[in-house]
């Protein structure tokens, strides 16, 4: 997955919400029994859509994106984790956990008899070591906030925080955000070192590594001592960067699941009755206008931004780009994160848009230097360029390589002179505040000095300082509403990360394989069965 790919899920590291007086989670109970008498059989092949980065096999190096999640869910296990409709608090290696009323400690009771793939038991000491040595996304914040990790007894571990740490369970349990709660065998890790672990990772997940060709292929086998039944014996993940080849593999039965079917191949899969599409609704796409606060910028006038919103044919873009399987929603923040608000679908009215343009002093439109879509979705930018001509906005498409785009985004306004439209996209997990922090706030990682609405940034600071859950919710909603009411961002649609499933997998509906909550990938691996 690419850095700016909206399928990637990431939390900004910058802020962690301060704790509040309210308790977040109560006690959860164990739901998994010891392995039922299931004999794993058969073979499952997943055709992965990019090359396979070695660091994705090591939860200690979690890069805060969605991609590692696919591998962690097979090889490793967390204390708690996202599981179907449970966003972060499904008991995994911990049979239960308790988050203190004052949000200043969290206690986890390990499931009895759990083992790593090398046969050693999973102990509280492993939990403490994994957490303490974690150096991936959010690691710094966790270290800053954590006072101590206490080994209570041979199956209990307690985290103490310096101050209320309301987001701790979300961070710990969301597999595509942070890897600190994913437990590695401390002794083995120290023995082989980071590089050695990447070559031969040992975890406590449903599948153990048999062999790997770095970047190319991973062979896994069902782990007999996993605490839940694992149904398929062999699991191969093979990297196939070419989409047409992946589809051919599925058609031939060489792969059972393929990720990312691009728009031009969707019909081919649709037309094959043996195959099933799995359109996971994923990241959001919106238009933004860097430097619009400058009075000389034509986008300074709210009526112009409103006119653009009225002109964009969102359904047409969804149809052309995602076979109509995305969602034309109203907010630029996904509604599957904390406090992400629902917003009605935006109307399309080109006549009214023209009228607004005339009222704003642009009856014949104006020139835009560049429309720049997030790489590599260039055709989406072309559609915006084309549609805006209806109200006289003449623009050119600017195509940027991903790394260049990211670098320019981090350069702020000096990298985006003149009149610009960015067709941006992202998918960020956890909470709405990470979207605001990274994408809108003055000085944010991807927003820099593009927008800088002081009133909203002040409210956001207040939000961060508050421990009152009701107040936080209210502030979150006010900020989002304001961005939408003022057309600071013009949301377009949530695209579909389209995957496909072959005939050998047993399922009633595609959501059995792609639960879609928090991740665009297939899981839980241990539950997949062959027909």
């Amino acid at each position: 997955m690419q850095r700016n790919d909206p399928n990637r899920t990431a939390l900004g590291r910058r802020h962690v919400l301060a704790g509040s007086a309210a308790a977040l989670a109560g006690i959860t109970t164990a739901t998994g029994a010891r392995a039922a008498p299931v004999v794993p059989q058969g073979k499952l092949t997943l055709a992965w859509h990019t090359n396979i980065a070695a660091r994705w096999l090591d939860p200690q190096q979690h890069d805060g994106t969605a991609s590692p999640d696919n591998f962690l869910m097979a090889l490793h296990d967390g204390l708690i984790k996202n599981y179907r409709s449970e966003l972060y608090d499904h008991p995994a290696l911990a049979e239960r956990f308790e988050f203190a009323e004052d949000s200043k400690s969290a206690t986890f009771w390990l499931r009895a008899g759990t083992r790593f793939h090398d046969g050693t038991p999973v102990t509280p000491a492993d939990v403490k070591w994994s957490y303490g040595h974690y150096r991936g996304a959010w690691g710094e914040v966790l270290r800053e906030r954590t006072q101590e990790v206490e080994l209570v007894d041979d199956k209990t571990v307690r985290f103490h925080f310096k101050e209320p740490f309301l987001d701790f369970p979300i961070l710990l349990g969301t597999g595509n955000v942070c890897g600190a709660g994913w437990v590695v065998p401390a002794k083995y890790y120290q023995q082989v070192g980071q590089a050695g672990f990447l070559q031969k990772p040992v975890g406590a997940g449903p599948y153990r590594l048999v062999s790997q060709e770095p970047g190319v292929r991973i062979e896994l086998e069902a782990f007999a001592d996993y605490y839940r039944p694992v149904h398929i014996k062999q699991f191969t993940i093979v990297s196939v960067p070419e989409a047409a080849t992946r589809v051919a593999m599925l058609e031939r039965g060489e792969a059972d699941i393929i990720y990312f079917v691009p728009g031009e191949l969707i019909d081919r899969v649709k037309s094959n009755p043996k195959l099933r599409l799995a359109p996971v609704v994923s990241g959001n796409w919106w238009l933004e206008f860097p430097g619009f606060q400058n009075p000389s910028n034509p986008f300074h006038d709210k009526r112009v931004r409103h006119a653009i919103s009225l002109t964009v044919d969102r359904d047409a873009i969804n149809d052309a780009e995602c076979g109509g399987m995305g969602v034309v929603d109203g907010n630029w923040i996904n509604n599957d994160v904390e406090y992400g608000i629902e917003w009605p679908k935006w109307p399309r009215d080109v006549a009214k848009a023209k009228q607004l343009m005339a009222e704003a002093g642009f009856p014949n439109g104006f020139n835009v230097d560049w429309v720049t879509p997030a790489p590599n979705y260039y055709s989406r930018g072309e559609r915006i360029v084309s549609q805006l001509q209806a109200i006289g906005i003449r623009s050119r498409l600017q195509v940027m390589e991903r790394g260049v785009f990211l670098k320019k985004m981090q350069g702020g306004m000096r990298e985006w002179p003149g009149t610009q439209i960015i067709f941006n996209a992202t998918r960020i997990g956890g909470t709405w505040s990470n979207w605001y922090d990274s994408m809108f706030k003055c000085g944010g990682f991807n927003s820099k000095d593009f927008f800088c609405i002081k009133d909203l940034d002040d409210k956001f600071t207040k939000y961060l300082a508050s421990y009152d859950r009701n107040e936080r919710k209210q502030l979150a909603e006010e900020i989002q509403k304001s961005i939408l009411d003022e057309y600071y961002f013009v949301p377009v649609f949530r695209h579909a990360f389209v995957n496909a499933i072959g005939p050998r997998l047993a399922m009633q509906k595609w959501q059995d394989v792609f639960p879609t909550i928090t991740t665009g990938y297939a899981y839980p691996w241990e539950e997949l069965k062959l027909a």
């Binding site: 090359n51 980065a53 070695a54 060709e213 196939v240 051919a248 060489e254 991807n446």
Partner: protein, 306 residues
């Protein structure tokens, strides 16, 4: 002779120096790899930490010196992405690329050389036109298109061959044909022109006048001499196929060096890209050096005139 070898070796070192400087500079023009290595919300301080970890905060001359040292020691640096020595990755993939390149070379030989000979011997005949058409198609049909069409026809429709990946000989057929097709065309053209030149020479005329059978004239006299430039080209082609079959290896998910290079470029993995390019450069320079020395050994005029 010793002086000649010494001079040519100096040229080779200078070439590698320029190549190393070029690739070192060019990969750094593509942007900062740290933006791809840190998570989207990372602060500047986090990015600095990553830069320091990988030595990217050092002045460029220091980074270049480290790069050269890595080449000399043969490690080629540590891949950002795989956290392994680039040399290990390279030599893991080398046998796969060698397998593909040798198969593609064989295909290019089987198609290119006989077709080239026939075109030359039957110049301006229907055979020649067929040969020229093959050459034209080979040079103009892109390998990626041919590869995708072959997957569709031979894997999906006919179900004769697996779509991709490495395995038995059946996995090798389509990528080898897709890769060898272009080189077959270039060999065909060179064989044809080389044969035409030889067939017009005096000693061939003499052989014919002596009453030697046509087959003997072509096979024993003409082909033998026409083969020298063809083999030289084939050697260079093999090195190119070995190191630069990027698109074919990506389409067929073939775990070779070309795909390693693609992965390096995709992830902006400087040491990986630099290492693969340098290895390819070293191979080509060494082969050229060897050929030069052999030529000079065979023909003393070369070492005297150069």
């Amino acid at each position: 002779m010793g002086q000649f070898i010494f001079r040519r070796t100096l040229y080779a070192i200078a070439t590698l120096f320029i190549l190393s400087l070029t690739i070192f500079t060019v990969v750094r023009l593509t942007g900062d790899p740290v933006t791809l290595m840190a998570e989207p919300g990372a602060q500047e301080a986090d990015l600095e930490l990553v830069r320091a970890e990988w030595g990217l905060n050092q002045p460029l001359p220091v980074q270049y010196a480290a790069f050269v040292k890595n080449i000399i020691t043969g490690k080629l640096g540590q891949s950002f992405n795989y956290e392994m020595p680039v040399s290990t990755l390279y030599f893991q993939r080398l046998p796969n690329s060698l397998e593909l390149a040798l198969a593609a070379t064989l295909i290019s030989f089987v198609i290119g050389i006989p077709a080239g000979i026939i075109s030359a011997v039957r110049v301006n005949s229907a055979w020649d036109h067929v040969g020229k058409t093959i050459a034209l198609l080979g040079l103009s049909v892109p390998g990626f298109w041919l590869g995708l069409v072959m997957i569709l026809v031979f894997s999906v429709w006919l179900e004769w061959l697996p779509t991709s990946g490495q395995g038995g000989w059946r996995n090798l057929v389509m990528p080898a044909v897709a890769l060898g097709w272009y080189f077959a065309a270039s060999l065909l053209r060179l064989t044809r022109s080389s044969m035409l030149e030889v067939l017009r020479s005096e000693y061939i005329k003499l052989a014919r006048l002596k009453g030697l059978p046509a087959f003997a004239v072509i096979a024993l006299h003409a082909f033998k001499n026409a083969l020298i430039p063809v083999l030289t080209l084939a050697g260079i082609n093999l090195v190119v196929m070995l190191n630069a079959a990027v698109i074919i290896e990506v389409i067929f998910a073939w775990p070779g060096i070309g795909r390693l290079l693609y992965e390096g470029i995709f992830q902006r993995d400087f040491p990986l890209v630099q290492g693969v390019v340098m290895e390819a450069g070293i191979m080509i320079v060494l082969i050229n050096l060897l050929v030069d020395v052999l030529y000079a050994y065979i023909d003393p005029r070369i070492r005297l005139t150069r």
